[in-house]
Amino acid sequence: MRSTPTAATLILGALPYGEAPEDVLIAEGRIAAVGPDARIQAEQLQEVTTIEAAGLIMLPGMVDLHTHLREPGREDAETVETGSRAAAKGGFTAVHAMANSSPVADSAGVVEQVHRLGRASGWTEVYPVGAVTVGLAGERLAELGAMAESSAQVRMFSDDGMCVHNPVLMRRALEYVKTVDGFIAQHAQEPLLTEGAQMNEGDVSAVLGLPGWPAVAEESIIARDVLLAQHVGSRLHICHVSTAGSVEIIRWAKERGIDVTAEVTPHHLLLTDELVRGYDPVYKVNPPLRTGADVEALRAGLADGTIDIIGTDHAPHPTQAKECEWSAAAMGMTGLETALPVVIKTMISTGLMGWRRFAEVTSIKPAQIYRHAHQGRPLKPGEPANLILVDAGATQTVDPAGHASKGRNSPFRGMELPGAVRATFLQGHPVVLDGELNSPLSEAAARAAEQSQVQS
């Protein structure tokens, strides 16, 4: 069933940002009313669905700047459709599809295709990320302008999976994206320092005999790039920060007023390289799982604002890519459907932050980084109704077999995690209800919403 955004929903007794309960009326894709007005206005409407939401926390829909949807090219791992479903179930109302598809999203044609597929699926908003260099090869700039001017209107450019390691090319890329009002998201990994690297270099790699991936390979690139960004006056985003040293460098850069933002993945907030001891490739990821001290520093950095956002780095792989020798296995973990519980476990349950900050790091700030006008908005009348309802008291045992993503490579398999997404509203339409997929937003509605976004 494809419903239209004109259908109205009255949400009773939800707790916006985990604070005092309010009734919220959603109509015509927007928040129509908050508080006592909601019931009054609802009575004027013909058709209203009512949701009892007492005790559920209402938050702006989460925005992921770092998602791998694998299409085109690796549809056996994930498609835009399955990845969008996973995003909706995970509470994301917008995802940004990284460029390392096959072919690489380095041309207007590919980014338009991904964008079109996302709109057709209707479960979440899909924004393609453009490659910085042709074929992610790190040799020459891709047509950033053409991607920016395409119907996909790309603003975010990244060679994620690969580092733009050539300093001259990185400088030029930082300068060039200014002309399209975009930004570069850097995958910070010095390639020569990580040749053949399999896991974090440290006490565990020394014992396991796996080639190490030193923290300095990440930190040296971040240090270089913040200085480059300062020099040319560009916006720089650092993907998946994984080490304590990286947090220090970013803190220093921000103190100097450099326009840098940083993201951390849920898995780097929870898991450490100790898990590699069993050689289970489900724990193989780029950047690698680090030490307990790094995890602590990342949590502290996210709490104090040094790290701006959560990015899932959702990276689904087919079974055979993980059911093999560690060094032959693919890097990456799924994350869309576990991000919210993991952030609750690591940041909320630990008392490191509250729900307002949760909304900032999962929604408000990533939307601002991309400069979305309709995502990550306040829960106020007149704002686009991209929001979620969360049962913070629920616990669930992670079972990848039940995930909407095609990927079964969840490192959280079997873990009991707090919190569950009960509903996801995309432009006012409930794509997820009672924790299950409901129905997608119609393509026409999605297009209409996008139009209104352009006008706003």
């Binding site: 020394a206 014992v207 396991l208 005999g209 796996l210 050689y279 289970d280 093999c324 020798e325 560690w326």
Partner: protein, 331 residues
């Protein structure tokens, strides 16, 4: 004990049990009939994803002396090189009726993954995995060292360990599965372990290992006849580490870390607490003139041939203990 994956998993009692059993196995090879009926009707598969004729032959001899049936599966030139997964290969072997898989693999952790998987119920013996471990090599080295150490003290080796023995391991610790396995086992058996290597060939974090680390072999050899090691284990220098990547030249390596004639002379002058000469070990094959001089390779102090025969005894012991384990049969 269900599998042998790493010497780090071995308790003191388990290590002694393997070594004591190996002593009995060694005695069998001096008998008129060198074969034991112990593993009659059992099938041992040597699954080698990496060439190693020495190790394979040693395991094959061990299994045959215990009357097991032996199948050799060389993954080179087989379906594995055509992209067959480890899982499919192992399940095929299981279907053929293997009871134990002796696996040499280029990937660190491959044996541990196999043991942890539900692909097979076979006992898994790690015959060298990447740059991780090579436990039977360490056990045969320990058997060799214990023979010498107990003989110097006029003891029967059975039931004894290496308490107080000073052992130097010299060379590429970073990439050596032999070194890792030896370090954990020697420490379990009570030996003092010194590592000697250029800093480029030592793993990050080595300072937390229960060993002494020396950048200079001359310093590690000490001065004065009492200061020297009771045994020195020379690791093979791999050709691909030469040529400037980890150390400048083979000649510089030999000058600083090789067991040269001059250092051999110093070793010959050493006397242990019981008046014994130090032992020289090498996992083979030796690079004569690189990490070990010809004179040191041929010295009577060199145990390399004993190591080879001890390899068969130790592997017999491991196969016996794993394949006759009741744990496995009740599991």
């Amino acid at each position: 004990m269900r599998h042998l994956l790493s010497t780090a998993d071995l308790s003191h009692a388990q290590a002694l049990s393997i070594l004591d059993t190996a002593e009995e196995m060694a005695a069998v090879s001096t008998r008129e009939v060198k074969k034991l009926p112990t593993l009659r009707g059992r099938t041992v598969v040597n699954l080698f994803f990496e060439d190693s004729t020495r190790t394979r032959i040693s395991f094959e001899a061990a299994a045959k002396r215990l009357s097991a049936d032996v199948m050799n599966f060389s993954a080179k030139g087989s379906s594995v090189s055509k992209g067959e997964s480890l899982k499919d290969t192992v399940q095929t072997l299981e279907a053929i009726g293997a009871d134990a898989i002796v696996m040499r693999h280029w990937a660190s952790g491959a044996a541990a993954q196999l043991a942890a998987s539900d692909w097979t119920d076979c006992a898994v013996i790690n015959a060298g995995d990447g740059t991780h471990e090579h436990p039977t090599q360490a056990l045969l080295d320990a058997l060799t060292l214990r023979r010498g150490w107990s003989a110097a003290q006029g003891q029967d080796p059975r039931g004894t360990d290496l308490t107080g023995m000073r052992v130097l391991i010299v060379g590429d610790i970073l990439h050596s599965r032999v070194a890792r396995s030896n370090i954990w086992l020697l420490r379990t058996l009570g030996a003092d372990v010194g590592l000697v290597a250029p800093a480029t060939l030592l793993p990050v974090g080595v300072e937390k290992w229960p060993v002494n680390v020396y950048y200079s072999l001359d310093e590690a050899l000490g001065s004065g006849p009492e200061a020297g090691p009771d045994a020195i284990m020379m690791l093979r220098v791999q050709a691909e580490r030469m040529g400037g990547a980890y150390f400048p030249t083979a000649a510089e390596y030999t000058r600083r870390w090789g067991l040269t004639d001059e250092r051999l002379a110093r070793l010959e002058a050493h006397r242990g607490a019981a008046g014994q000469r130090p032992m020289i070990l090498h996992p083979g094959p030796m690079n004569r003139g690189v990490e070990i001089s010809a004179a040191a390779a041929d010295s009577p102090m060199n145990q390399v041939l004993d190591q080879v025969s001890h390899g068969v005894s130790v592997r017999m012991a491991v196969l016996h203990l794993l394949l006759s384990s009741s744990e496995r049969n009740t599991a």
